[in-house]
């Protein structure tokens, strides 16, 4: 069975190669090929999963070594895969949700003449993401990491004829690059510290390294995670990334790629366990992003950007949980999987709504759609109930566990983190209710589009509805399945698990979670359910206006990096012109002036040369005599 691992990656990679090199003759069939190969990968994953379940908990990890990638003395990089319980969870999520979104894209991209290319990029993404989670060393992981970055860039900028999409793609690429530098530095640090970068040896010997080095590695890994997972301070790209087609937002920028940072941290658990300072920074980043994303999500009128803020916030939960150590790793992954279901479902729902509304994204121009799109309404509604943590649905189980784990950290930190996660839960309920009410309830606020066509909302084709229904089923049942099928025991051999000692009982936490959720929903209902929603956004408070501008993230980046960079460049140019050029030009001028003077000695008159010779001889003789006298 071990040899099947490569097939997981090979199938979508083959799809990408065929679809991208195949040319126009595949335009008619390309999407079926892409979907089929993604499904092959999923079927392989299921077979491997079944095989893995049949083994004992401790020997479930599978390995496959393909060939030596960079064979240099003392530096061995292999193309080798490792499929353990953690990777398996990701593989099932990526291939499963990936296949559903391939199916959805068949309908969603039907009228796009570049659909074949779109499926090629999607397959490329799936292959790179699988490589990322299947690699058995950090260098190969880095390869996959860059691969998903490339696919993300290509897909955000898929409609590159729109300047906003082209800019958003570049922005995502550049911001991700900052994080990627962190990962490459972390790998270099690992190599100098441990002499290798394979998971096994590095993680096994992590405890032997000094805490300072481990903290440095941990912080660099966190920087990488921040870039890929859109965490503060590298969060600014995710909102703009919504310029990509909606299936891309669902697959890459909600369910899978943006969670790669969480995978990285959980995979490097042994490093973080031995570096408490790095862990603390991880939890702080998670807590800050959790609130940041939630606040942004409250103010956005663009349905996809509101969901993007929500994604940022939910990944903040996962990062926070991953920063808690063995208490939280399992729940970070659990929330990651449930989030993968309900957020992909929500995005697909949003795509379905846009499909029926002439690609309008402004929720203020929706309203009353539940009668026109019943299936979308129900699937979106189930995803909504899942994300706000409605008791019994998947978000309830996973988020509740994270809040519990945050309290279990203990001490003042525990109380602060617990309070932040509870506050985040309330804000989540608020902004998701807002999205729900503005889109599906209230009066019709439809506006004709730019070409003057009034929208005719209609239910989307079956190829779009089936993935939405399946994801909705996952959103409803996923949490309960994890909760009662022993997900903790499943992941424990890889990540470790510790119950921790919560200062308050689990029941109290659950009650508090449900209570804040009800408060959030109630506030949103008072604001958006009972009063009609104005089509033109009101001016709003200072905080609202800031949140509409993504809490001034771009302004901050502009002030610090663009303006700062411009000033730095200008001062460097000034130094270059005055100091460097001054020295160079000054040297040249003084040499030139001196030679101008010396040139006068060469007057061409033989007799003056004879005088110089005579004078020189006289000096030589005088010097010789003087030396002899001394």
């Amino acid at each position: 069975m071990d040899n099947l691992i490569a097939l997981l990656i090979a199938a979508p990679l083959l799809g990408a190669a065929v679809l991208l090199c195949g040319g126009r003759r595949l335009d008619k069939t390309g999407h079926w090929l892409g979907t089929l190969l993604a499904a092959v990968s999923f079927a392989t994953a299921v077979a491997l999963f079944a095989d893995m379940l049949g083994k004992g908990a401790d020997d479930r990890a599978m390995h496959q070594r393909l060939f030596s990638w960079i064979p240099v003395e003392g530096f061995q990089a292999d193309i080798a895969f490792q499929l353990d319980q953690l990777s398996m969870t990701f593989v099932l999520l990526i291939t499963g949700v990936g296949t559903l979104i391939h199916v959805y894209s068949i309908g969603y991209m039907e009228h796009d003449e570049r659909r074949r290319r779109f499926f090629g990029y999607l397959n490329l993404f799936v292959a790179a993401m699988l490589l990322l989670v299947l690699a058995d060393n950090y260098l190969l992981l880095y390869f996959g990491w860059e691969g998903v970055g490339l696919a993300s860039y290509l897909l955000i900028g898929f409609w590159q004829h729109k300047p906003s999409a082209a800019t958003a793609a570049k922005k995502a690429f550049l911001v991700n690059r900052v994080g990627d530098i962190g990962l490459s530095i972390a790998i270099m640090l690992m190599f100098t510290t441990f002499g290798t970068f394979a998971f096994g040896p590095v993680l096994a010997s992590a405890e032997n390294a000094t805490e300072g080095k481990l903290t440095a590695i941990g912080l660099m890994l966190l920087l990488a995670a921040c870039g890929k997972s859109a965490q503060v301070p590298l969060q600014s790209w995710l909102g703009d990334a919504m310029e990509g087609p909606t299936p891309v937002s669902a697959l890459i920028h909600a369910a899978t790629m943006v969670t790669a940072g969480v995978y990285l941290i959980v995979r490097s658990a042994d490093i973080f366990n031995a570096a408490p300072d790095a862990q603390l920074v991880v939890t702080i980043v998670g807590a800050v992003t959790l609130l940041f994303g939630a606040i942004v999500g409250c103010a956005k009128d663009d349905i996809k950007k509101a969901l993007a803020g929500s994604t940022m916030s939910q990944i903040g939960y996962m990062i926070l949980a991953a920063g808690l150590g063995p208490v939280g790793y399992v729940f970070a992954i659990m929330h990651l999987v449930t989030h993968g279901f309900f957020k992909a479902g929500l995005f697909l729902g949003a795509g379905s709504v846009m499909h029926g509304m002439n690609d309008e994204v402004d929720m203020r121009k929706y309203g009353g759609l539940r009668k026109y799109m019943p299936v979308t309404f129900i699937t979106f509604g189930l995803g909504y109930l899942a994300i706000i943590g409605f008791p019994g649905l998947s978000g309830f189980f996973s988020k509740d566990k994270i809040i519990e784990a945050a309290f279990a950290k203990g001490g003042t930190e525990g109380w602060i983190l617990g309070a932040v996660t509870l506050l985040g839960a309330a804000v989540t309920a608020y902004y998701m209710t807002r999205v729900m009410l503005m889109t599906f309830f209230g009066e019709k606020r439809w506006q004709p589009d730019a070409d003057g066509r009034p929208p005719h909302p209609h239910e989307s084709p079956k190829s779009m509805l089936v993935p939405m229904i399946l994801l909705a089923v996952g959103s409803v049942g996923g949490g309960a399945v994890f909760e009662f099928s022993g997900f903790t025991e499943w992941l424990e051999p890889v990540t470790g698990f510790d119950h921790g000692h919560a200062p308050i009982s689990a029941a109290a936490v659950t009650a508090a979670t449900v209570a804040v959720m009800v408060i959030g929903v109630g506030l949103a209902y008072l604001q958006y359910g009972r009063k009609p929603v104005p089509v033109v956004a009101p001016r709003g408070s200072l905080l609202t206006r800031a949140a509409r501008r993504d809490l001034l993230q771009d302004d901050l980046n502009h002030a610090v990096f663009v303006t700062g960079g411009t000033h730095l460049t200008r001062s460097l140019v000034y130094v270059d012109h005055t100091l460097v050029d001054g020295v160079v030009n000054g040297t040249a001028a003084s040499v030139g002036g001196l030679s101008g003077r010396l040139r006068k000695l060469q007057n061409g008159y033989v007799r003056s040369y004879a005088v110089s010779m005579l004078g020189g001889t006289a000096v030589l003789i005088a010097a010789t005599l003087l030396m002899r006298a001394v």
């Binding site: 040139r599 060469q602 007057n603 061409g604 008159y605 033989v606 007799r607 004879a610 005088v611 005579l614």
Partner: protein, 99 residues
């Protein structure tokens, strides 16, 4: 006669030659002054040879004569060809090599 007197004579001849090289413009005269300096050197060599009682100085004098003869050939040829092209034997006129 005291051989030192020959040295005085050599010094006098050399000085005359050197001054001639420095102040005369006619190339032929300058050339003759160079010869005068060379011969002053020869005289000094021979005198020293006599004073110290070995033959080294005299041998050097012969070398000097050979070199001087060769130099006369080359030098006169240059002077003649300069005179032919520029119709002047003044060393100050032959100053084209300066920058």
């Amino acid at each position: 006669m005291n051989p030192v007197n020959y040295l005085y004579l050599a010094a006098l001849l050399f000085t005359i030659g050197a001054v001639g090289v420095l102040i005369r413009r006619n190339a032929i005269v300058v050339f003759m002054c160079v010869e005068l300096m060379l011969n002053a050197c020869n005289l000094a060599f021979v005198t020293f040879s006599r004073m110290h009682g070995n033959l080294d100085g005299q041998i050097i004098a012969f070398f000097t004569m050979v070199v001087a003869a060769a130099e006369v050939v080359v030098g006169l040829a240059i002077i003649v060809s300069v005179f032919r092209s520029r119709h002047s034997a003044s060393v100050d006129d032959a100053s084209l090599m300066k920058l």
